[in-house]
Amino acid sequence: MKKFCLKIAILLFFISIRFFYTAYIDTYNVFHPYNVRFTEAEPNKNFIKTKYVVENKDKFNAFVLGSSRVSYIPIDFLPKFFDGEPLNWYNMTYSEGIPEENFLTLKTFVEKGVDVKMILMAFDSIAMYANYTDHQHQFLRMSYQEYEKNPLKYYTQYLMPIPDFSIATQIVRYSKKENIERSKWFYEYGTNIQDFEVNLEEKTDLSRYETISFDYSETESWKCLQAIKNYCDEKNIELVLVTNPMYITNYKISVEKGYFDFLEKVAGCCEFYNFSCLSKYTTIPNYFHEFSHYKSFVGLEMTKILFGTEAEKKDAKQRAVLNSDDSDLFGMKVTRENYNIVKQRLIRQLEFYDMEAAVSKYNH
């Protein structure tokens, strides 16, 4: 019996080595929520950021919500005060963050005692195809709320995949010192180090701006936006809802797949500021990192339109303008009442835009 028990113990030890290894390499960083390691694999930011906020509940009271596209909104240029109270912003965005998850995040914050004063939330066509159920099968996106339901199950799922060799090598060689600044930005602001430089002379690789055609399906996510609005009204939270600027290739596909219908449903229940239109920024590739993510400069211009003085707003809109007819379209407030007019203008804008000429212009 002793021999048997000893051998079982040895066997269990050997088996557990693989799990210790997986937890140590921790491709998605869920076992190291306070020590984010930047490798080529994106960490599960939904989990890490939510956990960080709820465990530091007095540190932040204003949040940027949305997908990773919104991660380039500069926190420093967002309002510092609301109703006379200071605001401490945190960028709670992550890959394919969708309204349903954002709603859960917001509720988690409030339920855990975070005193949320203001929300800046951006959405776009991602809300039309990404969904919560699919995300719960993706290590990169499994939500914090699933962890709360069953922490043991949540962690065991992350013990399952054997880490890629390249990630393992990066983790072994990872230097905390070299990434101290990046790590600080991640925890202090929830975002990357901001760089507002845009070099229009810089040559761009246009292949990175070709959009993948997504499988769009009927979505109910506009109802989640309505739920967020109702929740914010109930909890006295100031909500600023905006759509993201989308690079023209991405924007056109989204429109073909019914983006305007989706926006109509949203406009039927909440007001929002629309940045999804053709503008100088969405037609020149240099303002985007690739087809999906706009640069911090664009984010900065958006904050000026949303929170700047009247003069700043006017200037920012003027800078974004593509032609004189559309001078107010970038960042225009959309309501149930004016949606149809806005939609007609957006359609006309697309009809008259000479895509081929633009492409040849920027095809360096």
Partner: protein, 481 residues
């Protein structure tokens, strides 16, 4: 309680510790039996406490009629009818009333009802025939019908094998324990690594057969043959392993069935405890082979019809049984021709015939079975026609992907992974047919053996975690019977 669950792991650890403490320090036959009986009842009630009355009924019938049949042999028919009544009621009443009403009675099949009933019947028949002495101890009988390692899906036990073991002292033996563990893990691997991944393709293709392509149905049918083999033999290995760990030998249930040279041989290697039961308690009492030839064929067909009906109350199972009956008759008729063929060809033909029969075992309705059979027979024409048409447009790779409906498993990569796992299993299965798998692994050098254990267990645990994350069921196919 599913063998593949943390509850079972905990339950079995506690039972083992208590069991061996009793065996080593205070052995009393009754105490040991009572512990096993308590464990068996817990195991049974874990499925649902509502099933307990059936188990008690089955025990009472076995015990009481065992004594009565010993004295009055003519009571055997009455005992048999009473013993089979719950099975008839729970399993077949909806099937029997289906021609008269579309409404079904909301009946839940008690765990292991078919296995328990057959075990009880074999005891009564053996007592009647004087093959075994009547068992006077009710605890032994109760334990015989409810012994937890085999209660849910066999192997079906004979009283002459199990009851004497229940009375023996089983001291902890290192070799028994490790062999039991190895068998359990091997069974677990078959279920978790092979059967479940095959199911991901087969289930999708068989869901709506009319929408699947012929080649896909053909592939799914062959894969199902392996799925059900790995699923059921995996379960059996786990049950045998658990019994072995406790010092019990519950017999073999599978012996490389797909290496059979004929359908007759297949049934000597597949679900051995059921086929030997049918041979001893249905085929031989009907006259077996000691009757005129036409009667032999009738007996064979009758026996396989019973087998089909035992598996489930549906016409699909009746057809499955009938097909096997016909295979047996044809096999007898063509025996001399079959024996002249090369062994590999005979194995292949047998495998194809068995796989064809599985179609009717797997489908939801006879109509689905006919659709699949028709599509499979037309699949070579469909495949060549479609390839000619589609290849210029979308290329060979995409055309093949389309014909085999590989999208249901995320394309080529996942399917190659499934096939690779299956090939590894087939290789090991062939190796273990030549020399018993346990002796083969036990004769390996220690370091190599341990490397295999660690890698193998890691793969199993990873698969288990993945399946649990994706909510893939770990239920066994034969738990439904």
């Amino acid at each position: 309680m599913n063998f593949i669950s943390l509850q079972f792991l905990l339950f079995f650890t506690i039972v083992c510790v208590l069991y061996y403490l009793i065996q080593h320090y205070c052995f009393r036959e009754k105490l040991s039996q009572l512990l096993l009986l308590g464990a068996s009842l817990c195991f049974y009630c874990f499925a649902s406490i509502k099933f307990l009355p059936f188990l008690i009924f089955s025990f009472a019938v076995t015990f009481v009629f065992g004594h009565l049949v010993k004295k009055i042999k003519s009571l055997f028919i009455a005992a048999m009818i009473i013993d089979v009544l719950p099975l008839l009621f729970f399993k077949y009443v909806n099937f029997i009333i289906s021609p008269f009403t579309s409404e079904k009675l909301p009946l839940i099949l008690p765990l292991g009802i078919s296995f328990i009933t057959f075990q009880s019947l074999s005891y009564l028949a053996d007592v009647r025939n004087g093959k075994i002495a009547v068992e006077k101890d009710p605890v032994s009988i109760f334990l015989f019908v409810s012994f937890f390692p085999v209660v849910s899906s066999g192997p079906i036990q004979r009283a002459e094998n199990l009851i004497p073991q229940l009375k023996q002292k089983h001291l902890f033996e290192y070799n028994h324990a490790t062999d039991g563990m190895k068998l359990f893990i091997w069974g677990l691997a078959k279920k978790v690594i092979i059967a479940n991944s095959l199911a991901s393709y087969v289930d999708e293709i068989y869901k709506i057969p009319s929408e699947a392509h012929g080649p896909a149905l053909l592939l799914a049918t062959f894969l199902y043959s392996f799925q059900i083999y790995c699923d059921f033999s995996g379960y059996s290995d786990m049950a045998i392993g658990v019994s072995k760990f406790l010092g019990f030998d519950v017999g073999k249930n599978f012996d490389h069935p797909y290496l059979s040279n004929s359908c007759g041989e297949f049934w000597k290697r597949w679900h051995i405890s059921l086929s030997s039961w049918l041979r001893d308690y249905v085929y031989i009492p009907l006259g077996g082979s000691r009757v005129p030839v036409p009667r032999i064929y009738l007996n064979l067909i009758m026996t396989f019809l019973v087998s089909g009906i035992w598996h489930g109350a549906a016409w699909t199972f009746v057809v499955w049984g009938l097909i096997h009956g016909i295979y047996q008759c044809t096999g007898r008729l063509l025996k001399s021709i079959n024996e002249k063929l090369p062994s590999a060809l005979r194995i292949f033909i047998t495998f194809c015939l068995i796989s064809f029969a599985w179609i009717f075992f797997r489908v939801e309705s006879l109509n689905d079975g006919l659709i699949i059979a028709k599509k499979i027979f037309c699949s070579p024409i469909e495949a060549s026609k479609s390839l000619i048409e589609l290849r210029p447009e979308i290329g060979t790779k995409a055309a093949v992907k389309l014909l085999f409906d590989l999208d249901v498993v995320d394309g080529y990569k996942q399917m190659s992974y499934i096939i690779l796992k299956l090939l590894c299993f087939v290789f090991i299965d062939i190796l273990s047919a030549r020399k018993d798998g346990l002796s083969r692994i036990n004769s390996m050098p220690v370091i190599l053996r341990w490397i295999i254990y660690v890698i193998f267990l890691n793969v199993i645990v990873s698969n288990l975690l993945a399946e649990s994350a994706n909510s893939i069921s770990t239920n066994f196919i034969y738990n439904n019977f």
